[in-house]
Amino acid sequence: MKVRGRVALSGGGVAALVLLAGFALLPLAQQPFVTRIGTGIFILALATISLNLLVGYGGLVSFGHAAYFGAGAYAVAILSHYGTHRGWIAFAAAVGGSALLALILGAASLRVRGVFFIMITLAFAQMLYHLSTAVEKLGGDDGLRVVPNSFGPLFLGERITLYYVSLGLLCAGLVISDRLVASHFGRVLVGIRDNERRMRSLGYNPYHYRLLAFVIAGALAGLAGALEANLDAYASPELLHWSISGDLLVMLVLGGSGSIVGPLFGAVSFQLVQQVLSGFTSHWMLYFGPALVLIVFVSRRGVAGLFAGTRPHHVRGGR
């Protein structure tokens, strides 16, 4: 990771680069199933990166991140439904719409802290889930079909194109979160996480910084949602379901929250575990659930902690 402009890659950073390079070569294997899984991993990793800004660096445990992910997908789907397939417009709507949603819901949720914040973010996301099933124009329970977007000659309905666009946006997401955390804004955010009273007495308004983090995270999750809508050629209420919010938190902690590359490792390992376990049994959650409990008992460092030199900042917020 970069520290004040100097390139100082940690062990985790090197491992992440190797992993990303491997992903760039993966389509050479010409396995449609593998590229499909890979694209899914990139999208989830991008959404987890956005959640990391809140949980890892802001100390804000949001259990409602599916709201912004799903909103991004629905923005693309609604435009597609009314005949707009231009990528720039659809993606701008997804990012902007999710950011606006995060501004509204964040302004209300951030009035409380700790366990109430968890409950409220979960409740607001559930509100959107119920709304999506109740509104017939949004397709109700069935959701909306999506015609994949085009950016000039790039057509996202093309499997390989979407794979590389998603990979590129994932890399961009990693760089953005790295720069953001190293910036003045990021340092203030981490300062508020670690000692809110001190930052307040230094003249910073924690509410404004947290709200901005919430909006940025919402926008990035919306981008991931827009990609997901292109991958599935569909936007359904399932994308807004609370279990997606839970999965994103699990991926974040598996990878190591408060580490730039943690979300990447988390998304990869979660998907691998899920694919492998579901190869043996259709009841994979019967084994993954207790494993998750054990992971919480024995470790707080996540998969990123396995690589030497990575020092994830522990989440001290939330209590």
Binding site: I120, A123, F124, V253, L286, F288, F297, G318
Partner: protein
């Protein structure tokens, strides 16, 4: 909308609110004392309903099945507390959320393995079947009135226990200052186990008595859990009366919203707004009174 239908829907709202209270009171007391957020609380609502459905199918006796299911859920609560939850009370909320999310996955999958994914239907006992004529030309189901009464009795019992028994005094003392309490020779761990088991039992009881009204199936608990969170946010932590008022408010607003809004606003905007009503209520409370209706402390 005539008066009869309005009154009937209000009664349904009260009945739903009482069930929400059984969920939210446990959540609120457990959070107030152990500073613990349990995402698996809704799953225990589902497990309660499955226990009851199974015992009822075996024995064919509603009352005995109910008693057995209550005992089984108390036991499950104790085992869960001793086996898993005790290790989580001192951890961060993020750890608590993740571990109880893992438990939730486990129990939902286990229920799918043991009881299948097809919904179960529990018959209403013959004694409570049928309707009763209420003033205003309403024929109201006896069973719904009965479970509303049961819920109110449990609420009263909980209130008396917390305010007027030695165990309740310890609970209140634990919520105020648990270190002093344990310094005075009280085994706080067993106090926690007792509180947790009672919370589990109340959530499971709500699942049991709601069973004959709905389809008992995997996933039924999480919908209840999230609405119970809304109740806790609106009511505030630490007050049983606050939780009761908030539960009834949410129950009635949600039920009447679903009945009235489509009639007033048409079948496009009505259902959409009705699905949002309790969350809008929650947002309004957050803006006007972030500490919740009861005004108790806010973490």
């Amino acid at each position: 909308m005539d008066f009869g239908l309005f009154a009937e829907q209000t009664l349904n709202g009260v009945q739903y609110g009482i069930m929400l209270f059984l969920m939210a009171a446990g959540l609120s007391v457990i959070f107030g004392i152990m500073n613990f957020i349990n995402l698996a609380h809704g799953t225990l609502y589902m497990i309660g309903a499955f226990f009851f459905a199974t015992f009822d199918a075996w024995l064919g006796n509603f009352a005995v099945a109910l008693l057995l299911a209550i005992l089984a859920s108390l036991l499950l609560g104790l085992v869960l507390d001793r086996g898993v939850m005790q290790r989580l009370y001192d951890r961060t909320h993020l750890d608590q959320v993740l571990a109880t999310f893992g438990l939730l996955m486990f129990f939902n999958e286990l229920a799918a393995v043991l009881w299948g994914t097809e919904p179960y239907f529990i018959p209403v006992p013959a004694l409570l079947d049928g309707t009763i004529a209420l003033p205003g030309d309403i024929d109201y189901p006896v069973y719904r009135l009965a479970i509303t009464a049961v819920g109110l009795l449990v609420a009263l019992g909980l209130y008396l226990m917390v305010e007027h028994t030695r165990f309740g005094m310890l609970i209140r003392a634990g919520a105020t200052d648990r270190e002093t309490l344990s310094g005075m020779g009280v085994d706080v761990r067993w106090l926690y186990s007792g509180v947790f088991a009672i919370g589990v039992m109340m959530a499971a009881l709500a699942g049991m008595v709601t069973g004959p009204l709905v389809a008992v199936q995997v996933g039924m608990g999480e919908t209840m859990l999230i609405v119970a969170f809304v109740v806790v946010v609106i009511g505030g932590i630490g007050s049983i009366t606050g939780a009761l008022v908030s539960s009834l408010l949410v129950g009635v607003v949600d039920t009447l919203g679903r009945a009235l809004l489509p009639v007033w606003l048409g079948y496009t905007a009505g259902p959409a707004l009705a699905s949002m009503s309790i969350y809008v209520l929650m947002a309004a409370v957050l803006l006007l009174r972030p500490q919740g209706l009861s005004g108790a402390r806010r973490a």
